[in-house]
Symmetry: C2
DNA sequence: CTGAAAGCGCTAACAC
DNA sequence: GTGTTAGCGCTTTCAG
């Protein structure tokens, strides 16, 4: 089903079909009518690939991501809701991820799609600072905050402080931290917030209570196993994201520790799964859908030649559920 | 950044660059080395668009959907997890949806991407039976069960029976149903299951207790408003999906009805949001991620020329949470 | 108003 | 081993 088939069936040239399909002027209405009829009958639809190779605009917004995890899909929901009715198509692309290309996928994806297929891109959690590209770009939860494209994130440092403070206020003093992906700024900021809150409460920072979780449940499980089998094990864990928190919960369960009686856990993100975990996870909520919506608004502004802020930060918020409680042995005065 | 730039910089022809980049034989290793160096330096990446126009295979799996809603994203998670390491890239595409193209988007998307950009497609909840297409297709939660591509769904009818039976066993007799999208087979089957269970319990089917919800919260809200302001209002509602159930919950709240004391609600799907609703929603769980995973397995089989089942049905399962309880005034014996 | 022709970036025959 | 050439399906001048 190509434009040539249509042209042949309608008895006109491909050029004419192209004009009709794209609503260009300079075609007799009788001809246009006949062509449209054939188009409808044959079910012809212009090929995105071929037209994007020739055209400068495609009205397609690309969303570049490393995989469809709960964090990414939550942002996608916001993007999708905001984009509806705006005349853009959405194309979420996840390149083939393997170990040797785990870093730098966003640059690869961008050059693979950019320039022709998509008019602009929203990149979710880029691992490296995104290079100046041929198309406008918005980065969500970016690598570094300066120099690159406009970025959107939430108040990571204050969120982490609030999480840690919550545990301190419950009476915890041995608070572990399962760190995020150290190549992301958000992970660094969350660790910083954790240390800030500790310091503000006069609790000494203990590097032995911090482990890498890489924002992934699998890694967090290893981290948690080390942490929770420590001679003087922590009574609370602040995990850098909800997925890590789930990993910690799993290990706690395995070890026979009750949550929250024996171990308190706080996550970060507030993905929908957090609310339905057992017990329901106390966490720091990021307005993920709103972040996605803002990304769309900003990208469309860019596409229309308007200026946008270099950086948008949305507030984070502590959501107390059932995974946190005072420590088993209250610190006697 | 095109292949021509690389060729010029390396002092060779574009054909040679193409051969090197694609690992074809017939290039001196010294030349290959030099080209690779330039490629790395310039950060060149072959354009998906251009190569797909020329090539027959792209190693890209397309996922065609109407929008990134919780149902679709849950399946995407399963697809993504299953596809990792299999050498395929994922491209989730949502065309610009508007009112006049709400039906038939899958055919349009398929012809827009098919043939060149993607090797095969997974279509989520197609509104019409998918035509024979140029590429292999798997449909999830399809329109009709026969004639078209291979399909995947869950046991909708038994799920709906279980949902209704659960309400009946709690003592409800006035059970309303908020119907799904009537263009989808799953919606029809769920209504059938509802009627089956009613009949099995000797409860007369009352058409006045059934309303269209279109699988959408917004529509379900209208439906619920009618249902819950009925003179002899139902004491329980079976909503065709979780999103509709949320709509019903919202109206109940608005009307001052307590859930589950005054009104019991059962949903369908068990999206992550169901577990974190207040109260937590009793629902029929579909193995959404597994359905996505199976879709990938089957599509890859098709791409490799193997045969696959025409239809895969996975079990559904009642998950009792806090939104269901016996009716306010027990039916006195 | 219509069609012929060029060319988007790339790959695959085929010459050299 | 390497380069030249012909298209993939489409849009866009530019003649007719």
């Amino acid at each position: 089903m190509t434009i040539t088939d249509v042209a042949r069936a309608a008895g006109v040239s491909v050029a004419t079909v192209s004009k009709v399909v794209n609503g260009r002027y300079g075609v007799a209405s009788s001809t246009a009518e006949r062509v449209l009829e054939v188009v409808a009958q044959l079910g012809y639809e212009t090929s995105l690939v071929a037209s994007s190779l020739r055209r400068s605009r495609t009205n397609v917004i690309g969303i570049l991501l490393a995989g469809f995890d709960p964090f990414a899909t939550e942002i996608l929901k916001g993007i999708s809701a905001e984009a509806v009715g705006k005349g853009y198509e959405l194309l979420a692309y996840s390149g083939a991820i393997s170990d040797d290309n785990a870093v730098g996928w966003e640059r690869r994806s961008l050059s693979r799609l950019g320039g022709t297929l998509i008019d602009g891109a929203i990149i979710l959690t880029p691992t490296v600072s995104v290079p100046t590209s041929s198309v406008p770009v918005i980065a969500v939860d970016p690598h570094t905050g300066s120099g690159g494209p406009s970025t959107i994130d939430c108040d990571n440092i204050e969120g982490a402080r609030a999480a840690t403070r919550h545990l301190i206020e419950l009476g915890h003093t041995r608070i572990a931290h399962v760190r995020g992906r150290t190549d992301l700024e958000s992970a660094l900021l969350r660790e910083q917030g954790y240390r800030d809150a500790l310091e503000a409460a006069g609790i000494a920072y203990d590097p032995g209570l911090v482990r890498d979780g890489g924002y992934r449940a699998a890694w967090a499980i290893d981290a948690a196993r080390e942490l929770l089998t420590l001679p003087d094990r922590p009574t609370a864990v602040f995990a850098a994201n909800d997925l890590s928190a789930f990993g910690v919960m799993e290990v706690a369960h395995e070890l026979g520790l009750r949550i929250p009686q024996d171990l308190s856990i706080v996550g970060f993100d507030d993905i929908p799964e957090a609310g339905s975990a057992t017990p329901r996870l106390t966490t720091i909520a990021q307005p993920l859908q709103e972040m996605g919506a803002r990304a769309v608004t900003m990208l469309i502004a860019l596409l229309e030649g308007r200026e946008v802020e270099a950086h948008v930060q949305l507030p984070s918020r502590l959501v107390v559920r059932r995974s946190t409680a005072p420590p088993p042995e209250p610190n006697a005065p």
